[in-house]
């Protein structure tokens, strides 16, 4: 296959739309390292939908968790500084009137959005933060932080369905939302107790959606640093339940959920020898697969629990 053909295959973008809508995008530290495949697949599927996600220049780590005390501002400086970069992109003319900022990682999304909400509700705090960051431009509050899933919802699931080349027929996927996309209410992308956004996406991809009553239950988050056992137990509960409900694999949108659900299966099996490994995939990997993109984009070789045998069994991979 020639390079041209190769390109045509992996990039079914209409030539007229070769330059898609440019939207600033915040990767977050883990997407540049351990979750590289999440970024790669997301950027490519976005292109297929006519969106060019432009990496925010000079972005810094958002902090991953929101500081919750009333008097602490220093931990909100990082996310606000990132939001300043979005406004800078507009003033510098790198993008035109585009104040949306797309995040992929649930934690980044949560922190950026809550920081924005907090300073918008407390102008005094914004003033202090702006003052501390006197080397930067002031944050004007124009940015609207979006999770990639929200962007997909805005694009419309019917459109996504049209882009699908290889429907994920027969693949039983259980969506896992975790916490930070849904809670608290003011920063949620969907109903905190009964989210549907991933189900709608998976249905558009042609997969069979398996509802897991524990889809919003916490994976243990940062407790994984000091309490592996507790996290493994939660992973065991979540994945076992998904299997009971009939799922083949689980999909998520957070690198930390991914680590806890996938990497910690090792600890699960030490405690529960009967536990059979279950593949956990980023939703963008499944999108890439359904869009007919190359396996190097899908990056299944980088998943801790190799999904390829399952995909082959379902006739979705060679």
């Amino acid at each position: 296959m020639s390079p041209e053909q190769e390109k045509g295959k992996t990039d079914p973008v209409d030539d007229n739309q070769a330059k898609g809508t440019m939207i600033p995008y915040f990767p977050g530290c883990t997407l540049k390292t351990k979750a590289k495949i999440f970024e790669t697949s997301a950027l490519r599927v976005a292109r297929c939908l006519g969106i060019d996600l432009i990496e925010l220049p000079r972005w810094n780590c958002c902090g991953t968790v929101t500081s919750l005390t009333s008097d602490d501002l220093i931990h909100h400086v990082a996310p606000i500084r990132d939001l300043v970069r979005v406004e800078d992109m507009n003033t510098m003319g790198e993008i035109y009137q585009e104040y949306r900022l797309v995040a992929l990682c649930s934690m980044c999304f949560h922190v950026l959005k809550r920081a924005h909400l907090r300073v918008m509700q407390n102008p005094g705090e914004l003033e202090k933060i702006n003052n501390l960051m006197y080397l930067e431009n002031d944050y004007q509050g124009k940015v609207s932080v979006l999770h990639f899933l929200e962007l997909l919802r805005d694009i419309g699931f019917p459109k996504i369905q049209k882009t699908v080349e290889r429907p994920l027929a027969g693949l039983k996927v259980s969506p896992y939302y975790g916490c930070l996309l849904l809670r608290p209410k003011e920063a949620a992308i969907d109903d905190p107790e009964d989210p549907v956004i991933l189900s709608h996406l998976l249905e558009a991809l042609g997969a069979e959606v398996i509802n897991n009553p524990f889809k919003t239950r916490c994976c243990g988050s940062y407790q994984t640093v000091c309490d592996k056992a507790a996290v493994a137990e939660l992973t065991f509960d979540i994945l076992s339940r998904a299997r009971t409900e009939g799922a083949d694999c689980v999909t998520t949108s957070c690198p930390l959920c991914m680590f806890n659900l996938a990497d910690r299966q090792k600890e699960v099996m030490e405690k529960h020898p009967e536990f059979a490994p279950m593949p956990v995939l980023y939703f963008t990997q499944l999108m890439a697969l359904a869009f007919g993109l190359d396996e190097s984009v899908c990056g299944f070789d980088q998943n801790v629990v190799d999904p390829r045998p399952l995909l082959r069994e379902k006739g979705l991979s060679t």
């Binding site: 109903d191 107790e193 009964d194 009553p213 009971t244 409900e245």
Partner: protein, 799 residues
């Protein structure tokens, strides 16, 4: 020279602990027409009132100022006092130094005292110009509309009907009976609900004074106390109730099956059905929406089998119009939509039901034909949709504790091998016999666990429900499986109530139920004259409370109607004939069509005039005026409010409408919420009475800012007033702009009586604005006072 007596009340310390009442009394002593100024411990007591009567006679007083609580509270008392002493009740003014001084400024005695002096000064200035008016009297008939045919509406109708009043009872369902008809037994006595209700329903049907309109909805209500014009839309039942023998043959042949409302959808019914075995009127109904087709007839089988020929497809909706004198609103409640509480999976899990479902299941089990298996392990979850900010209802629904106690006992007693758990947060057994009933349930072995379950999860195979809760008494997490989980759903305002509330301009309390006129002393009255509340439309309550309130509402209605006439304050517009040049500008502007031109002079029809005062602004000659709130009086109050203002002071005037603004200020005071001392509240019937001229004059006399506080449009007794005020305000602002005075000095805000914080914020904000703007410079003020009349009516006269 007028002879005014001023009385400053201690209010048993309520006022005197903050305000130096003695200084307040002394402060007006110097005014030429103030004959005496006294203080008293309790002005509203008999000794206080006698003091006034004595002084009126002894000192030949012809004007009285009482500085005490809000006129909303004791105004009627003191009016009666003046009448007893042979004076017109309208030469009384009250200075509200409790709600507007002592309470909101309780931490600042000096400021409160100064403000009190100012308020008394304003009252003295106004009372000087009071006229010797008489009460107006209007005739009233004996017709009542009762909206809602539940137990509240039934009880109210029976009381009124028995007392000889004519009742129109309007019910939206095909049968009266309401929610009570669905219940199994009533707590704590365990009477069979249907058994005690059905005789009352039959009484309604039998009462010749009660005209029942079932399957009917209110289309429109217009008018006022003594003359409410009602339009009701009666839906066709397609079955002639007089011919129907209730044989049930039609049901057998009807092919259309829909969920049965009486059974909460747990059972089905046909399109043609008997609403309930105890339905009143007792006749079949054909549900047009469920029927396969009436126009044209698609099936018609029911008509074919009906021997008496009761089925009549030619029936059409009917508009019924009638006039009543008073109205009782008894539209009841809906149960909370349990599907909203998503963690409990109602609607998703087949073994999660509401308590009302359970009532029906218990009824059918008792009759020996259970609807569905109930299992051995049953859990009740309390406070579903109540006391829960996550679903937007902070209030307690009051009845759930006891109905769960009742249902759990009934279930346990009918099968003692059942394991029944009630998960509660607080168990409230406050009523007569309730605590004993709760104890009995505990004795019967029902287990009460103090903890609110967080989530329910269904087993995909067995369909059993796993419940997770903390036993907060032992601090353990309980995770157990149940065969059935019952959600004790709370009470929410009935959806249909909204329309009625809008038509009758009724306010809502924060919980969404309708607001009574006073929580303590007028619990069934509303702020709309002649409209009363009965039952759960006012808030959750059990059956005895509902019945008691229904009787109270009917008695309040009877009190109004029984005399054959009622009194109103003579707040009507009048014309200064000598000034009127017959231009007629006012005629079209009156929303009640109360003004006409007779012999080239404007004449007011007092029966039609509602006293809003909105016409006054339209007269270029200042010939229109309003009794009790005359132009001179308004100006005198404004001047008095500004006389003690120092150069460094900021002074804002708050015009507050009687319906909402003034009551809101009272509520703020009662809540002891503090606001700026700079403000002086001036009561008006509606802010549409505040003319642009008055606003501008206020600035000339030294005001720094003005707020007009008016009832929000939907609860305003004068529906036209909001646009009128807007045009007045924009006119005044225009002129301010022309003379370079900041337009931000005038604010217009719409309120409902619960917006306490909003009221305070607006007052404080205006003070801040005025402070930051600084005093109005002399130049613009001079120009304003010189050109005011020209600017106000220049345009109008040209056109």
């Amino acid at each position: 020279m007028k002879r005014t007596g001023v009385y400053v009340c201690h209010c048993g310390g309520n006022i005197s602990e903050v305000v130096d009442v003695k200084r307040v009394a002394e402060s007006v002593g110097g005014q030429p027409d103030v004959v005496l100024a006294k203080t008293h411990e309790h002005m509203c007591s008999e000794t206080g009132q006698n003091l006034v009567i004595h002084d009126i006679k002894e000192h030949r007083l012809d004007r009285v100022v009482i500085a005490a609580c809000s006129p909303q509270f004791q105004g009627p008392t003191f009016k009666a006092t003046l009448e007893k002493a042979g004076l017109s009740p309208y030469v009384l003014e009250m200075a509200n130094i409790r709600e507007q001084c002592a309470w909101p400024h309780f931490g600042f005695p000096e400021e409160a005292t100064k403000k009190a002096m100012s308020l008394v000064g304003m009252a003295v200035a106004k009372v000087r110009l009071d006229e010797f008016l008489k009460k107006m009297t209007f005739p009233i008939g004996r017709r009542v509309l009762v909206i809602g045919g539940g137990i509240a509406g039934i009880q109210a109708s029976l009381d009124l009907g028995d007392a000889g009043f004519n009742v129109y009872l309007v019910e939206k369902d095909p049968s009266i009976g309401g929610k009570m008809m669905q219940l199994s037994r009533t707590f704590p006595t365990e009477d069979c609900a249907a058994c005690i209700l059905s005789p009352k329903m039959a009484d309604v049907a039998a009462n010749r004074n009660i005209h029942m309109l079932t399957y009917s909805e209110i289309e429109n209500i217009e008018g006022y106390l003594g003359h409410y014009e009602v339009t009701v839309k009666k839906k066709p039942t397609y079955v002639d109730p007089d011919k129907c023998t209730c044989c049930g043959d039609c049901v057998g042949v009807c092919p259309a099956v829909v969920p049965n409302e009486l059974e909460e959808g747990l059972l089905s019914r046909k399109a043609i059905y008997l609403p309930s075995p105890i339905a009143v009127p007792h006749a079949y109904v054909l549900d047009a929406e469920a029927c396969l087709g009436l126009l044209p007839i698609a099936c018609g089988k029911c008509k074919e089998v009906c021997d008496p020929g009761a089925v009549d497809f030619s029936m059409r909706p009917e508009l019924v119009r009638f006039t009543v004198d008073t109205i009782i609103v008894a539209t009841g409640y809906d149960i909370f939509d349990a599907g909203q509480k998503k963690v409990y999976g109602f609607g998703k899990y087949e073994n999660v039901v509401t308590a009302l479902d359970m009532e029906r299941m218990v009824v059918h089990s008792a009759e020996g034909n259970p609807m569905r298996p109930m299992g051995k392990r049953i859990a009740f979850i309390q406070c579903v949709g109540s006391r829960d900010e996550q679903v937007g209802n902070e209030a307690c629904s009051r009845i759930c504790c006891m109905y769960a106690t009742k249902l759990s006992q009934l279930l346990k007693r009918s099968d003692p091998s059942r394991d029944i758990y009630v998960f509660y947060t607080d168990l409230r057994a406050y009523g007569k016999g309730f605590e004993e009933y709760y104890k009995r349930a505990q004795g019967d072995g029902v287990k009460f666990i103090r903890g609110r379950p967080a989530e329910l999860v269904e087993d995909p195979k067995t369909k059993k429900i796993t419940l997770r809760a903390e036993d907060t008494l032992s601090r353990n997490i309980i995770e157990s499986e149940f065969d059935l989980v019952v959600l004790s759903v709370g009470l929410r305002p009935n959806e249909g109530t909204d329309i009625i509330a809008k038509l009758l301009r009724l306010g809502k309390s924060p919980d969404g139920f309708l607001q009574e006129a006073h929580p303590k002393f007028r619990p069934v009255d509303t702020l709309t004259d002649g409209v009363f509340l009965a039952g759960t439309v006012q808030g959750p309550k059990d059956i005895p409370d509902t019945v008691a309130q229904a009787s109270a509402a009917s008695s309040r209605a009877i009190r109004l109607m029984n005399r054959g006439e009622y009194d109103v304050d003579p707040v009507t517009a009048f014309v200064h004939v000598e000034s009127c040049d017959g231009c007629g500008l006012c005629v079209d502007r009156c929303p009640s069509q109360a003004i006409s031109l007779v012999a080239n002079v404007a004449v007011i029809n007092e029966a039609l005039c509602k006293g809003c005062g909105s016409c006054i602004a339209h007269c270029p000659k200042d010939a229109l005026d309003l009794h009790c709130y005359t132009n001179d009086q308004m100006l005198a109050q404004v001047q008095a409010a500004l006389t003690d203002k120092k150069d460094t002071d900021v002074r804002t005037l708050i015009f507050a409408d009687d319906m909402t603004g003034y009551r809101l200020a009272d509520n703020v005071g009662t809540a002891k919420m503090s606001y700026s001392f700079d403000s002086r509240i001036i009561r008006v019937p509606s802010c549409s009475r505040v003319t642009p001229k008055l606003m501008l004059q206020a600035f000339v006399f030294g005001a720094d800012g003005i707020i007009l506080c008016e009832s929000e449009k939907n609860s305003n007794p004068y529906p036209h007033s909001v646009p009128t005020i807007m045009s007045h305000v924009s006119k005044a602002k225009d002129i301010l702009g022309q003379v370079d005075i900041e337009q931000d000095r005038i604010h217009f805000v719409q309120f409902v009586t619960v917006m306490l914080a909003g009221f305070v914020n607006n007052i404080n904000r205006l003070s801040e604005i005025a402070r930051s703007l600084g005093p109005i410079p002399a130049g613009p003020l001079r120009r304003l006072s010189q050109d005011m009349d020209k600017k106000l009516f220049g345009g109008d006269h040209d056109s």
